[in-house]
């Protein structure tokens, strides 16, 4: 399909079908795509085979229950699911749930902004190809930080990895979508 009519990647479309229609066939596609990847991520983080599968089940159940919070203007499915898996990993490691920022729910009657969703998908594609072009040791630092545990002293290395331009473009796109919550936010 041409990109203009299908700006979202497949997993994002499946997640929207789950969100809007509680579509079990789409949920199975999400499971088949993400479960082995999540298991790979969790095993890299040090979990054994069996506990990694238990956590995959937790994460996919949370995907089903929290789908209403997914906003395709602000994230692709993979980023949103990464965040859920990261939080579950923190919860297990520290035995206390990680803090969750205020949910930026769209008002019920929001029409999807196709241009923004398309732009987000294009930036994500750029990010993926820039990721593929990184030197292997740079990609390893990123994978270690996102999947394992990077010592605090090495966190600042992440900003030295040349993805900054694309990340700041994504940020500008997301900032344009800022909701004017100021009134709500002021006591």
């Amino acid at each position: 399909m041409p990109a203009e009519t299908a700006p979202q990647t497949d997993p994002t479309q499946w997640l929207l079908a789950v969100r809007d229609h509680r579509d079990r066939a789409a949920f199975l596609l999400l499971f088949q795509y993400f479960a082995p990847r999540l298991k790979g991520m969790l095993m890299r983080g040090g979990l054994r085979d069996g506990s990694a599968e238990d956590v995959v089940q937790d994460v996919m159940l949370a995907v089903w229950h929290k789908a209403a919070q997914f906003d395709p203007h602000r994230a692709e499915a993979s980023a949103w699911i990464y965040r859920i898996a990261r939080n579950r990993r923190i919860d297990l490691a520290r035995r206390k749930p990680p803090p969750e920022p205020e949910i930026l729910a769209e008002p019920e009657d929001t029409e999807p902004d196709a241009a923004q969703i398309l732009a987000l998908g294009q930036e994500a594609a750029l990010l993926r190809s820039a990721l593929g072009a990184l030197a292997p040791d740079q990609a390893r630092v990123l994978e270690q930080a996102y999947f394992e545990e990077l010592p605090h002293s090495r966190i600042s290395e992440l900003t030295g990895i040349p993805l900054g331009t694309i990340k700041s473009r994504i940020r500008l796109g997301l900032e344009r979508l800022r909701r004017d919550l100021n009134d709500l936010r002021q006591p």
């Binding site: 980023a79 969750e100 920022p101 990010l127 990123l142 930080a145 990340k167 940020r171 800022r178 006591p187």
Partner: protein, 211 residues
């Protein structure tokens, strides 16, 4: 309303997004993200990178029964409780740390009050209440101190900080924040090493600050 001018550093945001930030600091970061669209967008851009890495990770096959177990759980597992949301001046992560209840202040003298929200090997998290115009005893710290203003303002050698602003104080900064005039200053502060007060009398206060 003055816009937020003091934001999170890249290193703090990256550590938060990758799950590498200790709990007290993660709460301050999540609270700032609840108030600041600009840093929220930076965090979401970094999460998109997490998603891109997840897309290309080597998959580990799951066992054959996993899919059926999950489908059965969809009908039986109770949905998770709704997360605690923000209330008044306290954004959601602060209300979560408060267990959904309003703060229970403890007097520290000089009109200053605090509530410790967590304290342990990973650092300490507290709410501080400083009357307008009052100075916090001068102190330095061995590690990182992250302070987010929730109400009112304070000023020190690093500048003026209003609602939503974050001060990142490293190791050797000696500073003496003074609350602005007007409303009392209420802040959320995370530290990873005990505060050291310079004067003798405030040193006696240290057991009260308890970190």
């Amino acid at each position: 309303m003055t816009p937020i001018t003091h934001h999170l550093s890249d290193a703090l945001l990256d550590a938060y997004v990758t799950g590498n930030l200790d709990h007290p600091f993660a709460v301050v970061v999540a609270a700032h993200l609840s108030l600041c669209d600009s840093c929220r967008a930076r965090a979401e851009a970094a999460e998109m990178l997490g998603g891109a890495l997840l897309d290309r990770i080597a998959p580990a096959p799951v066992s054959p029964g996993a899919q059926d177990r999950l489908l059965a759980a969809l009908d039986h597992a109770p949905p998770p409780p709704r997360p605690i949301t923000g209330s008044g001046i306290f954004p959601a992560p602060v209300m979560q740390a408060l267990g959904g209840q309003p703060p229970k202040w403890r007097m520290l003298g000089g009109g200053i009050r605090q509530q410790i929200l967590s304290a342990g090997a990973d650092g300490a998290l507290r709410l501080l209440y400083i009357p307008a115009g009052r100075a916090v005893p001068e102190h330095s710290h061995g590690g990182l101190e992250l302070t987010l203003v929730l109400q009112g303002s304070f000023a020190d050698s690093q500048g003026r900080f209003g609602r939503g602003d974050v001060e990142i104080a490293q190791d050797d900064l000696d500073h003496q924040p003074v609350a602005g005039s007007g409303a009392p200053c209420i802040c959320l502060a995370a530290t990873d090493a005990p505060l050291r007060f310079r004067a003798m009398i405030p040193r006696l206060l240290q057991p009260l600050f308890r970190i």
